[in-house]
């Protein structure tokens, strides 16, 4: 079917976004000074400013539950839809968004569409959704808008619609370039399509591209991993996420392991692989900024022409292929050299425990120390639109907040700026103990894991968290 552009409101006829020059967004970013925080969520609820009575949301997550096949390691809520429910799902998603935009101060700085396979949602529905988001003003202050993609599902048409609708970052699930290992994972895609997808996205103007890789796959060797990394680096992504394979409960992979059909790799090898990644990716010019995340290191000198502050999708013809545009440019504190920051700003919001809302079935939210999830059930989600049933509601106690601060914040290589005295004595003692054995350290006054500590982060965290 030929591509029929649907003109969006507030968009020039050529379909390019206009919001990068939004003055409100600019003045805000100046004040945000690096953290990417908009309005202080904690005070916004109590302040007397009438405009701030609604809770401000830093980030928005969108869950698209469709996949064309269930990968064996996957524990996300996703289904293979046999009933053509895409239109009804998109309607429900739009309604939920509209409803929340009324309830919250919903002008996030980051959006992340995950799944499932968001790129399986037909372009027409993406277009409808993006148009509504635009109309509601939800894209006004966006720094980063990521969509997850399966390499099999990226078409020129979709790339174009996403780019013109405000999406400026894509995360591609490459997992491995080795067909045998992909088969072990029952991950169905053609490795060569990773590169094809990237070319299409770049042509459409999206240059900020992450590749997801999995290591520690049964049967994988260190050489196999080196091979995967070489192939990934050759594609020049701006970001790499490398996950050690986790046997999640109730997945097909775990069942196969329990039946003895596959043998998890030895923890010693898993450790060697992680150590290899730490060295190899650093050499290749990627900064390790979170346990499983690496971002392309900014060039030593700022580019001669100043990067656009909030580069939304830029038409392909103005993009230099050798100089990918930054997804987000956060200003230095002293405001002189704005380095390009390829870290995933949306994920940083999670690790910093900011306020985020999730829409779609199974999506989780975290607002002012409350957590909940939408019921992971597509049919019910559609039926109960626009107010999906929520489950797992939690109001975090002080101790739980502290646990999460440690658990999430210490994932970052920057660590966390904490005042140990805020924590129970037990936690303080354990921090001290792990500093003594060189598993934790203070670096620029922030507590973080040492390289040695990273490998056993969970063991350490279990000792640190308040009970």
């Amino acid at each position: 079917m030929p591509y029929q552009p649907i003109p969006l409101t507030n968009m020039p006829p050529d379909g390019h976004a206009t919001s990068p020059t939004n003055p409100a967004a600019q003045s805000h970013a100046g004040a945000g000074a690096g953290a990417g925080v908009t309005i202080n969520a904690d005070t916004s609820a109590e302040t007397s400013d009438p405009l701030a009575t609604k809770t401000a949301v830093d980030s928005l997550y969108i869950h698209v539950p469709f996949c064309f096949h269930k990968c064996h390691y996957c524990d996300f809520y996703s289904i293979v839809d046999t009933q053509q429910r895409q239109a009804r799902f998109a309607d429900a998603l739009i309604c939920e968004l509209t409803q929340l935009a009324d309830q919250y101060l919903l002008q996030p700085t980051t959006i992340f569409a995950g799944g499932g396979t968001p790129t399986l949602l037909e372009p027409i529905h993406w277009q409808r959704f993006l148009r509504v988001a635009q109309t509601l003003g939800i894209l006004n202050r966006i720094h980063e808008f990521t969509v997850e993609a399966n390499p099999e599902t990226v078409t020129d048409e979709l790339a174009h619609i996403l780019a013109t609708g405000g999406v400026n970052r894509i995360s591609i699930g490459a997992q491995s370039f080795n067909p045998t290992l992909l088969k072990t994972l029952e991950r169905w895609h053609e490795p060569a399509n990773v590169q094809r997808s990237m070319t299409r996205l770049r042509n459409a103007g999206i240059n900020n591209i992450n590749l997801d890789l999995i290591f520690g796959i049964p049967g994988q060797t260190l050489d196999n991993l080196a091979d995967d990394i070489d192939r990934a680096l050759a594609l020049q992504p701006t970001h790499l996420s490398c996950y050690s394979l986790t046997f999640e409960p109730k997945t097909a992979l775990t069942a196969r392991r329990d039946r003895g059909e596959i043998q998890p790799i030895d923890t010693g090898i898993d450790r060697d692989m992680y150590a290899y990644l730490l060295d190899r990716l650093d050499d290749a010019g990627y900064d390790h900024y979170e346990i499983s995340a690496w971002s392309k290191r900014p060039p030593p000198h700022p580019p001669t022409h100043s990067p656009t502050l909030y580069p939304h999708a830029t038409p392909a013809h103005v993009t230099s292929p050798t100089l990918p545009l930054a997804a987000t440019c956060v200003l230095d504190t002293n405001n002189t050299r704005p380095p390009i920051d390829y870290r995933c700003q949306h994920n940083l919001a999670y690790w910093r425990n900011q306020n985020w809302l999730g829409i779609g079935p199974g999506a989780a939210s975290h607002i002012n120390n409350q957590r909940w999830k939408n019921l992971p059930h597509l049919a019910r989600y559609i039926d109960t639109s626009p107010t999906p049933a929520r489950i797992d509601h939690e109001h975090l106690t002080h101790a739980e907040q502290q646990s999460e601060l440690l658990m999430m914040g210490l994932r970052l290589r920057d660590g966390i700026a904490i005042e140990p005295a805020q924590f129970p004595t037990h936690t303080q003692q354990e921090i001290q103990r792990y500093i003594t054995v060189k598993m934790l350290e203070y670096h620029h006054n922030r507590l973080r894991f040492t390289r040695e500590g990273l490998f056993v982060a969970d063991c350490i965290l279990a000792d640190l968290i308040p009970s």
Binding site: T246, D270, S292, N347, H366, F455, V456, D458, C459, S467
Partner: protein, 615 residues
């Protein structure tokens, strides 16, 4: 009721032969329990008894039965069958004239059938043999009756055949009780003497005393005296077990079994086996009472998790009110801090006390491996050494008793280490004789005799070191005999052997709570095995942990626990936070239940691994 129409008896048997179920049918048959409230093993009212399906404490009950047109009052005590609770049986016997000896029609006479029968005979009781479970397809009632005659020397013709499941034979049994058991001995006109056979603490009423009135009378309002301690009390309530405690206004007289409440606030005032008399008209002598139970095994309890020592102290003292058969005294360990050294009648008893402490007082514990008492004869003549002589050593040397391997004095001062020996009677199918003999020899047993019970069953008698049988001997016996072998034992005395203390070093430092006393010839083997077990129990840490077994500074075995290579959550995004936090909390809880010794977290089970001799 005239005491010519009272019958006091208890139900005794090997474990699981159906005592408590038979008690249910007797309660039902006499209308003391209506069908509406019917449940299995009514008298097993402790939570643990119901969960494990065994009787732990003897319980008393009174019912009425019409026989030959006349009303009889039957007071009976259901007893536990397990070897650890022999003491409970002895206490019950002293309050009765008769005993019903129950034999499972499928299993026949077993080790505790024999042991309990001897006890009843020693206490001069009349006996009614009952062959139970005759409803089962595999029942062999006639054959079992014959066993009763041949092995136990009771007349086969006297056997009553019952099914505690269907109720068959229960009325005949009740009739036989009225007919064959004598009326209570004792004289209502004599001075009052009541035997205290049990007691229980009640938050509202204080101590409730269970007694059997041997002579004289008692009524509400009487001023009574506990003869051993000399304190006096005012009886505010007197009653019987029907089967719930039911207050009565009429006086009780010799032969009656009941309970009393007398505003007794401290449990120390009530001694099981003490005699109650009237303060105004006291008896001249107390009844003989009971022999103090002798602990067979000892272990330490230490507080763990967020339990404090004081909470543990309170819990231990409180439970002791309900079960005086365990002993406790404060102790301390370099590795584990302050705790209590407790003595038990056996391993099951120990298990039960540990579980009751944790449940009823909500404390968390670390329990060390059970050990027996050792007698240590020290060098030098008695006259040369200060202090008193204890124990049954050769007499010329100073002897001390220890119940904790860590207390063993410097080896150079030790002349002999003596260990407790038991006389064990093993009843087994003939086909397993060879394997059982092999087992007993492995356990340093000394063969005594072999007797034929029937064509396919025999009794083997061995002298065995108590230390060799407390842990897994029963399990081994059961598995060798496919469940048909049983054992009963009693303490015989102490005997010298070539025993040494083996110390365990974790990460280079000695953990006193893991020390064991072992036979020198078996030390290497035990050491290797023990370290292997420890290695399975202790989680990997962030560093490598060497484990060593040593005798007097000489390392005889070693193992290494590798360090954690990698343990880090790969993915943690918005939807994962709660679940990952809970996983961490669980990981933390797991660690909290362990005891940190130096830098190593040792789980409770590791302290028990010391005793596990299975390969």
């Amino acid at each position: 009721m005239s005491h010519t129409h009272i019958r006091n008896f208890c139900i005794i048997a090997h474990i699981d032969h159906g005592k408590s179920t038979l008690a249910d049918r007797m309660l039902q048959g006499t209308g003391a329990m209506d069908d509406r409230n019917r449940r299995e093993q009514t008298l097993d009212d402790m939570e643990l008894e119901r969960e494990r399906g065994i009787t732990i404490k003897a319980s008393a009950v009174s019912v009425e039965h019409v026989y030959n047109g006349q009303n009889y009052e039957l007071n009976f005590i259901d007893t536990p069958g397990h070897v650890d609770f022999h003491y409970e049986v002895s206490r019950a016997l002293a309050a009765c004239e008769g005993a019903i000896l129950v034999v499972d029609a499928t299993q026949g006479v077993e080790a505790q059938t024999v042991a309990n029968l001897y006890k009843a005979v020693d206490a001069d009781l009349e006996l009614i043999p009952v062959i139970n479970k005759i409803d089962l397809p595999s029942a062999q009632p006639e054959d079992r009756a014959l066993q009763v005659e041949q092995i136990l020397g009771l007349d086969a013709a006297d056997c009553i055949f019952t099914s505690a499941k269907t109720g068959q034979g229960v009325v005949e049994l009740l009739d036989a009780i009225c007919e064959r058991f004598s009326e209570p001995k004792g004289n209502p006109e004599a001075k009052t003497q009541a035997l205290i056979f049990d007691a229980k603490y009640d938050d509202y009423r204080g101590v409730v005393v269970y007694f059997r009135l041997i002579n004289g009378r008692l009524k509400k309002g009487d001023r009574i005296r506990m003869m051993r301690i000399g304190r006096t009390y005012h009886v505010t309530e007197l009653g019987k077990f029907r089967p719930k405690m039911t207050a009565m206004s009429e006086p009780m007289e010799a032969g009656d079994v009941g309970y009393m409440v007398a505003a007794i606030k401290t449990l120390d005032d009530v001694n099981i086996g003490d005699t109650i008399t009237l303060d105004t008209d006291p008896a001249s002598e107390a009844l003989p009472g009971y022999q103090e139970p002798m602990p067979m095994v000892y272990c330490d309890f230490y507080p763990s998790g967020d339990t404090e020592f004081d909470e543990l102290r309170e819990a231990v003292a409180r439970l002791h009110i309900n079960d005086a058969s365990y002993t406790y005294e404060p102790t301390s360990s370099e590795a584990l801090g302050s705790g209590f050294r407790c003595g038990f009648l056996g391993m099951l008893h120990m298990d039960i006390i540990q579980e009751r402490l944790e449940r009823e007082s909500n404390v968390s514990l670390v329990q060390t491996a059970p050990t027996v008492t050792y007698e240590i004869e020290l060098r030098g003549r008695v006259d040369d050494l200060p202090g008193s002589v204890a124990g049954s050593g050769t007499g010329k040397h100073k002897t001390i008793q220890i119940t904790n391997p860590a207390d063993l004095p410097d080896p150079s001062t030790i002349l002999h280490i003596n260990e407790p020996i038991v006389e064990a009677e093993i009843i087994t199918p003939t086909s397993s004789i060879g394997d059982i003999m092999k087992l007993c020899e492995q356990r340093r047993g000394i063969y005594k005799s072999q007797k034929f019970l029937s064509d396919d069953r025999q009794i083997l008698e061995y002298d065995l070191p108590l230390a060799e049988i407390i842990y897994d001997f029963f399990d081994k016996l059961k598995s060798i005999t496919s469940g048909y072998g049983t054992v009963d034992y009693q303490l015989k005395g102490f005997k010298t052997d070539n025993l040494v203390r083996m110390d365990i070093l974790v990460n280079g430092s000695k953990v006193d709570a893991l020390s064991v006393i072992v036979h020198r010839d078996k030390a290497e083997f035990r050491g290797r095995l023990l370290l292997k077990k420890l290695k399975e129990q202790i989680d990997r840490h962030l560093f490598e942990i060497p484990l060593q077994a040593a005798i007097g500074g000489k390392i005889i075995a070693r193992e290494t626990i590798k360090s954690v290579g990698k343990n880090v959550t790969a993915k943690c995004y918005g939807g994962d936070v709660s679940r990952k936090r809970k996983l961490l909390e669980k990981q933390k809880k797991g660690k909290e239940r362990m005891k940190r010794i130096g830098t190593v977290d040792i789980p409770q089970k590791a302290f028990m691994a010391v005793l596990d001799t299975s390969e």
